[in-house]
C-alpha cells in the first residue's frame, strides 16, 4: 500500500514540475501598439490557476472601458459557454496575445485579480500593458507619428514592479536588468536598445539572465 502511495506522489510531483516548466510564447504582434482583446470567438486556451489547460474557443466577455474583465470559453459552437474571471486563471492565450492574471493592486501584489495584456511573457521578466498608460492619438487636422503606440509599460521582474516609459526607457531598463553582464554589454548598442524594440530587449534579458 505504502509503495502505491509513494508512486502516486512521485507521479503527481513529476506532473507538477512538468506544468511549471511549460512555457507560453507570444505568437502575435510584438510591436508597441496598444492591443485589445476582441469579443469574437477565436481558437484559444485558458490556463487555470492550478495549471490545467482548457483548449477551445475563447472570447472577451465583460469589459470596463477597453480592459477585459472576464473571458467566455466553449469547446464548440452551440455549447453553453463558461465564464472565467481573473481570480480563477493564470493566463489566457487569445488571438496571438497572452493575457495574464495579476493582482489589481500591483504595488502590494495582493487582493483581487485583473487581466493585463502582456507584450512579453517570460520566466524572469514580463512586460505588460498599463491600463492607465497614455497612448499616442491622432488629433483632427494634425499629423502624428506612431499612432496607437503605448507610451509606457509595466514590467514585472522577480515579483517587483517597474514602470518603463518611452522617455526614460534606457535608464529605467538598465537599472532593472543590470544583473546580466551580457545584457548590459548589448545595451551599449543604441540602435537595438530602444523603446520600440522592447519585446526583443525583454526576451534577450530572459535568455541571458545570469550570464
Amino acid at each position: 500500500m505504502k509503495q502505491y502511495v509513494f508512486l502516486l506522489m512521485f507521479l503527481i510531483s513529476v506532473n507538477l514540475s512538468a506544468q511549471e516548466a511549460k512555457s507560453y510564447y507570444n505568437v502575435g504582434n510584438t510591436s508597441t501598439q496598444v492591443k485589445y482583446v476582441g469579443a469574437g470567438y477565436l481558437p484559444g486556451t485558458i490556463v487555470l490557476k492550478d495549471g490545467t489547460e482548457l483548449k477551445g474557443q475563447v472570447r472577451g466577455s465583460s469589459y470596463s472601458g477597453n480592459n477585459v474583465r472576464s473571458f467566455k470559453f466553449r469547446t464548440k459552437k452551440g455549447e453553453k459557454a463558461q465564464v472565467f474571471k481573473a481570480d480563477a486563471c493564470k493566463l489566457v492565450l487569445y488571438d496571438g496575445l497572452i493575457i495574464i492574471s495579476l493582482p489589481k493592486k500591483l504595488k502590494k501584489m495582493e487582493g483581487k485579480r485583473s487581466f493585463y495584456v502582456a507584450l512579453y511573457y517570460g520566466k524572469y521578466l514580463t512586460v505588460f500593458q498599463d491600463p492607465d498608460a497614455n497612448v499616442v492619438e491622432r488629433s483632427p487636422g494634425s499629423i502624428s507619428f506612431n499612432d496607437g503606440q503605448m507610451l509606457s509599460y509595466l514590467m514585472l521582474k522577480d515579483k517587483e514592479l517597474h514602470k518603463i516609459s518611452k522617455l526614460r526607457f534606457r535608464k529605467r531598463m538598465l537599472e532593472a536588468c543590470n544583473d546580466s553582464k551580457k545584457f548590459v554589454e548589448r545595451a551599449k548598442d543604441k540602435k537595438w536598445f530602444t523603446y520600440d524594440n522592447v519585446y526583443k530587449v525583454a526576451h534577450f534579458y530572459n535568455q541571458t539572465r545570469g550570464q
Binding site: 516548466a21 512555457s23 510564447y25 505568437v27 502575435g28 504582434n29 510591436s31 481558437p43 496571438g96 499612432d147 548589448r186 526583443k200 526576451h203 534577450f204 535568455q207 541571458t208
Partner: protein
C-alpha cells in the same frame, strides 16, 4: 520449399515496415493536397509538421549541432531561441521576410511568415517540428498589420480541383525550400 516461402513473406514484411516507417518519419517538408469532400475555399494542402534527421550522434552532439547552426545564422542566438533544455530540445521563433508570395493579376505580393520550430535532440535522431505558422497581413485603410494563423496549410487548388496559378509552384516551393534548407544544414 516452405523456408523459401517464409523468407519471402519475411522480406515483404520488412519492406512494408520500412515503407511505413518512411511515411511515418518523413525526411523532408512537403505540402500534400488533402481530399476534402466539400471544400469551401478550395482544396487545402497541408505541410507535414515534423521531419526526422537520422544520424549516428549522441543527444549532446545533436544539441550542439543545432545550437551551432543557429549561432552561425544569428549574431545573437538568444534573439530567436524561445526555449531550450540541454541536451533535449531547442525551440526557435523565426520571422522570415517575404516568404509568402501570391501572384495576382501579374502583381507579386510578398508577406512575412513567422513560425516556431522545435528541435528535439536525442541519440541518433533530430526531430524538427514546425508549428504556429503565421503570415503578416496588412489590411484596412491604415494598412494595419496583423499576424494571421496559417495552420501549416495553403489553399493551392480551387473548389473545382484546378490548381491556383497564383500560388502553386511559387509559395509552396518557397516555403518547402526554406524549411528543407534548415534540414539539409543539420544533416
Amino acid at each position: 520449399m516452405k523456408t523459401i516461402q517464409v523468407s519471402k513473406i519475411l522480406i515483404l514484411f520488412i519492406c512494408f515496415q520500412i515503407h511505413a516507417q518512411e511515411s511515418e518519419n518523413p525526411t523532408v517538408f512537403k505540402y500534400e493536397k488533402t481530399d476534402e469532400k466539400k471544400p469551401l475555399a478550395g482544396y487545402k494542402s497541408v505541410l507535414n509538421s515534423s521531419v526526422f534527421i537520422n544520424n549516428e550522434s549522441s543527444a549532446a552532439s545533436n544539441y550542439s549541432l543545432v545550437y551551432n547552426y543557429i549561432k552561425s545564422k544569428y549574431d545573437y542566438p538568444e534573439d530567436v531561441i524561445i526555449s531550450s533544455s540541454e541536451p533535449e530540445s531547442i525551440v526557435i521563433q523565426e520571422t522570415i521576410t517575404d516568404l509568402l508570395t501570391i501572384v495576382s493579376f501579374g502583381v507579386t505580393h510578398n508577406n512575412d511568415i513567422m513560425y516556431n520550430m522545435s528541435f528535439e535532440t536525442s541519440d541518433n535522431v533530430i526531430k524538427c517540428s514546425v508549428s504556429n505558422m503565421r503570415s503578416l497581413i496588412k489590411s484596412g485603410y491604415e494598412m494595419e498589420e496583423k499576424w494571421t494563423d496559417m495552420g501549416n496549410a495553403l489553399f493551392l487548388h480551387k473548389r473545382n480541383g484546378k490548381p491556383k496559378k497564383s500560388m502553386i509552384g511559387i509559395t509552396d516551393i518557397k516555403i518547402e525550400n526554406h524549411l528543407n534548407k534548415i534540414v539539409t544544414a543539420l544533416k
